[in-house]
Amino acid sequence: MSGHSYDAENYWKANLRLIFGSLIIWALVSYGAAILLRPMLAGIEVGGTDLGFWFAQQGSIITFIILIFFYAWRMNKIDEKFGVHEE
């Protein structure tokens, strides 16, 4: 990989965009729904308690798994698109 080509720059930007989007969701489910926004979600009932509690003890972890697999899948596609994937 020669480094400074136009494509290389776009590849890195595509990676940064994907990371940024994923981390917004990462923050929204944990710091958002499970902690800061819990009082706002208190009206939504889930099995004897509220949605915020569910996100704190189950939902955020499930979302984290989906995020990592989504990132790995998208990035491997982006690698191929920009021709930087491993042989």
């Binding site: 480094g3 290389a8 004897g48 995020l67 930087v84």
Partner: protein, 589 residues
Amino acid sequence: MSQFAINLLFVGGSFLIYIGIAIWAKAGSTSDFYVAGGGVHPVTNGMAIGADWMSAASFISMAGLIAAGGYANSTFLMGWTGGYVLLAMLLAPYLRKFGKFTVPEFIGDRYYSSNARLVAVICLIVASVTYVIGQMAGAGVAFSRFLEVEATNGLIIAAIVVFIYAVLGGMKGITYTQVAQYCVLIVAYTIPAVFISLQLTGNPIPGLGMFSTHTESGLPLLTKLNQVITDLGFNQYTADVDNKLNMVLFTLSLMIGTAGLPHVIIRFFTVPKVSDARWSGGWALVFIALLYLTAPAVASMARLNLMTTIYPEGTQAQPIEYDQRPGWIATWEETGLITYEDKNSDGRIQLYNDKNADFAATASERGWAGNEMVVNNDILVLANPEIANLPGWVIGLIAAGGLAAALSTAAGLLLAISSAVSHDLIKGRLNPNISDKGELLAARISMAVAIVVATWLGANPPGFAAQVVALAFGIAGASLFPALMMGIFSKRVNNIGAISGMLSGLTFTLVYIFTYKGWLFIPGTNTLADSPENWILGISPLSIGAVGAIVNFAVAFAVSKVTAEPPIEIQELVESVRYPRGAGTAHDH
């Protein structure tokens, strides 16, 4: 067969498997020893990461913490899993592409400074040694409880087993024993949880059972639990937390600490390709989540089970008589982890919250003279099968599972320590011309020394053992994580910037922790009392790692801005770790 014989069979059987694997996976080169030859499948690696990560704390203590704290302690669940998102996106693939053996090696090369590498080695050793003490002590406790041997002797047996497979097999032996240990620990953890969930709710999946109907009362399980414990003066299980800033910072500290812990990062060096490093992160979290999604269910159900055991006729009726108590309470009383004192001399067990002023009137009306039974949080998982009346083999399984959790994490930490000593200190600084054979021998000797030191510290744990987890996460989060991340995402951060950043993040974090916990954790030397009124902005010393990381980032950028740009070959190095193409297996210089 007696319970002792069953436990011996399970623990002994699992140890034989580990030793068998060690002989099969003997390391022949430094590449085998440090990165298992670089040929580990991502799913296998995910499982090994799971065992590496889930320690005695995750297996034994976490459910107890959640049972006691309810919603407030969800921080551990989110913090210890959310870090994997950061690892998989911000660190693992690029460090894998870099393709060397240790974390300090990346910091040394990227910041073209052997001093930066040395700072990283020191951070790594302090974080890993403090962490390993807890594992060895945990193994000792499991031995003494289940095999009725003296804790110190138990510790020595555990150390010999780790010695055999870690010294012989290095990362290769550790990887495949960790896979076996993961299987043992996850089966041991989930089987009792499934049975208990079925008993209480009829739902075989604990994570779902927790949010479904409690069969006996017809109420949702958590509603029932809230009702029972508030009747006894405790806080609601699902009650919200007032200090949200501290909760956010504590979760963030655990997340970045998780992402910065070297013994986890080096596991990503063992897979063949960059794309495998990404998949590995996902698989690791799947395997970790099997336990972490079950733990909160174990917590709430065990708490409810405990309360209904003590108050079989309901919270408005009399509690159980001491003479009628179930066998498991008596067993755990012998270990001192359950204590009973009949304060009002009525021969019954009054278990309630005597620190709640609003409840005091109700308590005295009922003739209660204070809480009479103290149950240590740590017994919850270990006593779970007995509380739910499960057969003896499940108890044997729990014993083997607790030991697997402690030993697998200890081995991972010991490998991180020994590779930092043999590769970063001996080869990197003292004797760069050492042969591969010589380095392999040095790695084995450092591993052996690390095991002896860890065993000694485990047998004589310093008084601050309980505090050290905060220290390990604080150090990893405030020093290593930012240095690694900036090394990949910025071409501008230079050697002086990175070193000043690491040192200031570390100093800031240590000073804040020591101010409240005592200087070097020596009791009585703390400058301020460790209570919420004294914390700056209500930030607990356990949550300060996240602020330390921000200090690190800010100092590193500011200093780099006013000093020279990194040389062109370093900028090219950063460029090269960003693109997956051309990643060979991890190699030496």
